[in-house]
């Protein structure tokens, strides 16, 4: 670790916080229907969209109606993407002539992009036509992110309102998230990416003759436009197999910083939106501090582990100062590779500029644990915020138990029904992750997919289901996940992780909205205090530790011990 490394990390995170604050307040205006600087341009398009689809924007929905609208929209999006993938071979804009995608892979991929996971059991440049990349996958990059933002705004309104029956209108929130937030930011970022050297073309590939006379086929495509929304929407699905490690998806150190900045931007900004909308900015900042404390601590661990390097390689005679370079690119350096690893998993982004499979044991443990903590640090766009609110509710409940008072959060009494729903949501992830991992670890057929033997093999399985259920999408990519078993079970994990999680959360929001806001009294536990932030961090870590420590002990932890003992597999 060097001062320069930490300085780079500080510059990126500082820029995120600096830009997230105004963006957060801007989003609060957007979702409250107030006028914004770009309204004159966007408002007519917005109105036309409502008119064409028969939406009455002023008509608000109950939690149930809001949720059903969201589910219908996503189910339909899934179906259309599935059909597009299956029929790819017969559709235009397919310069490389790829054939239709197999049923299990199409199911997995459609589910993956609709749930904002962007798990990729395929290599982009060897499987997907430009039409599918643009009109299929990139569209869901926008819409799954917009869905996440809409849901977070609905949950926020539940705490902002008193004795309310409605949470807003899903169609309006989703449309505004796309038109006012995601699309304008994507245009700006795509332009910045192009100016920094990223390709953006409809050509399929270029044939080059190398200096030694060999043929090199260089795959190309509309990379910059896709990269922009992939980062901003915390989607993470790469145009190429190597994702943001590919020089076309991430040509230099500057685009690398821009990529990290852009993936953290909206999720971070939403905490400010939350604070503004519930009428108390400190509440959002408290959540933000908890998120960034853990994010920075985790970055420190990965940075330390990776610069300490792989002891076995040092023993083999490799010079140690550069740290572990297997699966890393020279142009990024260890500090910003470490920050990327942590940011992409603390968010539910899943883009990678480093091959996580080749991280040192502890360097690989951290991203896996970040996902398992529930994708809330600060988590995917929208999903991170509502996930964090669920944990905040659990925290005030535990604090309430300690002193024997009915817990409150933001003036809303948290009672039995709310707690049951919160716990229901919290149980989805460990059930999917540990359940499917355990079954896979016992199936000879599933074990054939492993690229690495020993504890690292278990890590590959555990990481895959964590990534799918956490809607992350990064991988210990040695695992051959393009098999009927993994395509199906990982697809189901994504489905559970997104929708089985959010339905109870929306029911919780409905129950909270209906409650009267009670003014804080002397006995209220202040949720903008340092004590609350500390307790929140404690609850996040204890919850994650209790659920996953045994599994992690058998994977990366024992691997770390074996590395020091000089054992290989």
């Amino acid at each position: 670790m060097t001062i320069f490394g930490w300085l780079q990390i500080a510059v990126v995170l500082g820029a995120v916080l600096l830009c997230a604050w105004p963006l957060g307040l801007y989003m609060a205006r957007v979702f409250s229907g107030e006028k914004t600087p770009i309204s004159p341009l966007v408002r007519p398009i917005e109105r036309a969209f409502y008119a064409a689809s028969g939406i009455r924007p002023e008509k608000e929905q109950s939690w149930l109606s809001y949720t059903l609208a969201m589910l219908t929209f996503n189910a339909l999006g899934f179906l259309i993407l599935y059909v597009l993938l299956r029929l790819q071979g017969n559709l235009p804009l397919n310069p490389q002539g790829f054939s239709g995608v197999a049923p299990d892979l199409a199911f997995n991929t459609a589910m993956s992009f609709v749930t904002n996971t962007n798990w990729q059991a395929y290599g982009g440049e060897t499987t997907m036509s430009h039409l599918v990349q643009m009109a299929g996958l990139a569209v869901q990059n926008f819409l799954s992110a917009a869905t996440g933002i809409a849901l977070a705004i609905a949950v926020t309104r539940a705490f902002a309102r008193s004795s309310a029956q409605t949470l807003g209108n899903f169609w309006v929130d989703m449309t505004r998230a796309t038109l006012y937030v995601l699309l304008p930011l994507s245009v700006l970022l795509a332009i910045a990416f192009v100016l920094s050297g990223m390709p953006q073309t409809l050509a399929g590939s270029v044939e080059a003759t190398t200096l030694e006379g060999a043929k090199q086929t260089i795959a190309l495509g509309p990379v910059a436009s896709q990269e922009a929304i992939k980062q901003l929407g915390t989607n993470g699905g790469g145009f190429f197999n190597a994702n943001a490690a590919h020089p076309f998806e991430n040509p230099n150190a500057w685009t690398n910083m821009l990529s990290i900045w852009s993936m953290l931007l909206i999720s971070t900004a939403l905490t400010f939106t939350f604070g503004r909308m519930v009428g108390d900015g400190h509440q959002g900042v408290a959540l933000l501090i908890a998120m960034y404390t853990l994010l920075i601590a985790a970055t420190g661990v990965v940075y330390w582990a990776e610069t300490s390097g792989n002891r076995l390689l040092t023993q083999a005679g490799v010079e140690a100062t550069a740290g572990n370079m297997e699966g890393k690119e020279v142009r990024f350096g260890q500090a910003l590779s470490a920050l990327y690893v942590v940011a992409t998993t603390a968010l539910s982004c899943g883009a990678v500029n480093t091959m996580h499979d080749s991280l040192t044991p502890l360097g690989g443990l951290v991203p896996m644990f970040m996902i398992q903590l529930g994708e809330i640090l600060p988590g995917g766009v929208g999903s991170g915020l509502y996930g964090m609110i669920v944990v905040a509710i659990l925290t005030v409940f535990i604090a309430g138990l300690m002193v024997g008072r009915t817990p409150e959060y933001l003036g809303k009494k948290i009672e039995a029904r709310e707690m049951k729903l919160a716990i229901l949501a919290l149980l989805v992830l460990p059930m999917a992750i540990l359940g499917f991992s355990a079954i896979s670890a016992m199936m000879p057929k599933a074990l054939e997919s492993l690229a690495n033997a020993g504890p690292h093999g278990l890590s590959e399985i555990l990481y895959a289901f964590s990534s799918a259920a956490g809607n992350n999408g990064s991988a210990f990519a040695g695992l051959n996940a393009n098999t009927p078993w993994y395509n199906t079970t990982l697809g189901l994990s994504m489905l559970l992780g997104r929708f089985a999680y959010v339905v109870p959360v929306m029911a919780l929001a409905g129950a909270v909205a209906a409650k009267k806001k009670v003014p804080a009294s002397g006995g209220t536990f202040p949720t903008d205090s340092g004590l609350f932030v500390g307790l929140l961090i404690g609850v996040i870590l204890i919850l994650g530790g209790l659920q996953y420590f045994p599994a992690l002990a058998l994977g990366p932890i024992v691997e770390h011990v074996l590395m020091h003992a000089g054992k290989t597999f």
Binding site: S53, V139, V194, I218, A253, V330
Partner: protein, 192 residues
């Protein structure tokens, strides 16, 4: 749920047009005007022949050229239509044996210190860069193969070393293709 069907269908169609067609095509048009070379992959030409991309590494095996990092892209490495890392875990026997083999080869060729990037596969398998240390290690071999004084090759390496942006962002590194093109074109300051 049925009353949600119409808005769902219509909005999906509209957003597919807007974000799936208009947005990428507009960005493509803009990119082709603003930055045509980069937008088409930063392809390097020698005469009328495309010799590769400034951003994408390629394979070099001859002693006359600087060599890139090991690559796991495609069957033989540096397959720019099939990017990939090795995905070998830190205590993988395959990884350790591969690295031991490469270290031994470099040692036989006279290396006393083996820089990490010289024996580790990059994340994309297409890393166009090597560290200054790995380049320095290859100067003697390349100079001998080309009958050039070592000092001149070393000066070229010095000249082409990319420094971190603002002295802070990124790592000191060399683009292997750029370096080898410069060698072929003749060294700066004289015929070669």
């Amino acid at each position: 749920m049925l009353n949600h069907l119409r808005p769902a269908l219509v909005l999906l169609a509209l957003f597919t047009m807007l974000t799936g067609v208009v947005y990428p095509l507009a960005m493509t048009g803009l990119a082709q005007v603003m930055q045509p070379s980069a937008a088409n992959g930063s392809i390097l030409m020698r005469g009328h022949v495309a010799v590769g991309s400034a951003l994408i590494g390629q394979s070099f095996t001859s002693d006359r050229y600087f060599r890139p990092r090991p690559s796991a892209a495609g069957q033989n490495g540096y397959d720019a239509a099939s990017s990939s890392g090795s995905n070998l875990g830190p205590i993988s026997k395959k990884l350790i044996e591969r690295v031991e083999g490469d270290v031994a080869a470099l040692r036989r060729a006279g290396a006393s210190v083996v820089p990490a990037d010289a024996v580790t596969a990059s994340a994309s398998g297409l890393d166009p860069h090597i560290s200054a240390a790995f380049a320095a290690l290859q100067v003697t071999r390349v100079a001998a193969a080309r009958n050039l004084p070592e000092t001149r090759v070393r000066a070229l390496v010095q000249a082409l070393t990319k420094r971190p942006m603002l002295g802070l962002i990124g790592e000191p590194r060399l683009n292997v293709l750029e370096l080898n093109l410069a060698l072929d074109a003749g060294l700066p300051g004289g015929a070669g």
